[in-house]
Symmetry: C2
Subunit: 304 residues, 2 copies
């Protein structure tokens, strides 16, 4: 047992996976949960998600040793303002938001002295959302980035690290600005681009939606999977990580224009060299163990 | 048995899968194969790919009732010129190229009268290539598009259709121009975009390659999978389907700029509405049976 009581605020894919994974690890004495939506709370009670589903965030965080904000990035400031005065002295407050700069700005000021603020971000997910989407192995061998703020207590950081490791994640520590740039490249921009391509396909009048859908196995399908993620979460991500996202999109557009020009001018050598280079990057990902080359992507049947 | 003898020219992922699938179905009396690379021919002989691996394309097509060109689009004209005079009268010549307009232009003129030309394109693949990449279930419940040219014999078309159905594909017939536009949307542009994003990530100096690779599970990984496909094949696709690809890329850039502007101006409503729409398209794909919502994507262990 790493924490006596854990409180999860917001009961979506990540929080529900944290609960099942925490239970699997025996990493907490008890886990309380809260969601703004009464429907989500009802669902959580029905499926046994959390030891105790509370009717307010304030009730959920009472006496908690670890409180994790699992709400969209844009909602974190308001939640922090609400629960801040009710946090136990010596408790750790963390979160799972995809952007760290804005969360630190908006959550930090609401925390009383004596509460340890250790922002976090587990890099794991599926295209599903809601309390029923979670499963215990979501974080297995995935990365969880911890982004301590100035003055973070080293012991609080070490304990949170051991908690995520008990959930079978690999933990890395970095600063907020670097986190937000790395995520713009590896996650935020790929998602925006996937959303865009799916939108283009839908707009095209000469090709019917049903054709796009029928023939999606030819590449488009991988885009739709990531473009199916939660709209509110992603809206907040882009609005919150504006600077890094726009920087990477600028570079992306520049590169895309260069490839477009190579197509227009028939420069096969340029295209071949480019595609050969990207193939090597894929090999690196396989070697790093973040994917497998099995046709099932290494994702196996879920278990709660 | 649908054809007495089938000849597969080019022994990559598609041809090798056709062989295993043809054998599973008992759809051909015998299958001959040929690849320009002696290494690929040796591999094919070693793993039992094809009943007979020949040392020339001319030898492979001798007496064949169906000849299928499984080489990159840019190489098809030359292969057709070589084998044209040796095709059996009444034989059907088909191909599996991702672009149909250019293949028809370049292959058609080399075929003698009495040979039925029925271009085709199975929409199936993995990120792997070469003779060892194939497996019998690659085409199961996937689409195969047949693109008859003017004057195609209806009986030859019907026989080729029944052959692909024996390989468990669903067959649809459309004209070449429409095919090339549909594929630009569902396959060619998504691939180019994935290649571009992978290239951008590699270029960015402030984020190391090893970080990109470590944290790829956050979305980027799906891009690398499709960006790992065969460079020669994809070079030829873009050079051969120039017009439709550039049209779709133009629309894509337009949409991307609109989303970039929404991020810059903080227009959350625009982003949320866009992301909600793309999520609905994903549901359509699930309902059409071209993917599953299981975490393993419905892709199961391969079998030869």
């Amino acid at each position: 047992m790493i924490y006596g009581k854990v409180a999860l605020i917001g009961l979506g894919l990540i929080a529900s996976s944290m609960f099942w994974s925490t239970r699997r690890a025996g990493a907490a004495g008890t886990v309380a949960g809260y969601d703004l939506s009464s429907e989500a709370r009802d669902t959580a009670r029905r499926i046994g998600l959390c030891d105790n589903v509370c009717d307010s965030a304030v009730e959920a965080v009472k006496d908690a040793d670890l409180v994790v904000l699992c709400v969209p990035v844009g909602a974190m400031g308001a939640v922090a303002a609400e629960i801040g005065p009710h946090l136990k002295p010596g408790a750790t407050l963390s979160d799972v938001g995809s952007v760290k700069g804005r969360v630190i700005e908006e959550v930090g000021p609401h925390l009383p002295g004596g509460v340890h603020f250790v922002p976090g971000h587990p890099l794991a997910g599926t295209e599903h959302s809601g309390p029923e989407a979670g499963f215990s192995s979501l974080f297995d061998n995935r990365w969880c980035l911890l982004v301590p703020v100035e003055g973070t207590d080293p012991e609080a950081l070490a304990t949170l690290k051991s908690y995520w490791e008990a959930l079978r994640a690999n933990v890395e520590v970095m600063d907020a600005e670097h986190h937000d740039l790395v995520l713009a490249v590896t996650s935020h921009c790929p998602h925006l681009i996937a959303y865009t391509m799916v939108g283009v396909a839908d707009d095209l009048r000469r090709v019917t939606d049903s054709e796009v859908i029928k023939y999606s196995a030819a590449g488009f399908r991988d885009f739709t999977r990531i473009a199916a993620s939660d709209p509110t979460m992603w809206r907040d991500v882009f609005l919150s990580n504006k600077e890094a996202t726009l920087e990477i999109l600028g570079r992306f557009t520049e590169e895309l224009f260069a490839l477009q020009r190579a197509i227009r001018t028939g420069d096969g050598e340029h295209l071949h060299a480019y595609f050969t280079r990207t193939r090597a990057i894929r090999r690196g990902i396989l070697e790093a163990g973040q994917d497998t080359d099995a046709p099932d992507f290494g994702r196996v049947k879920v278990e709660r």
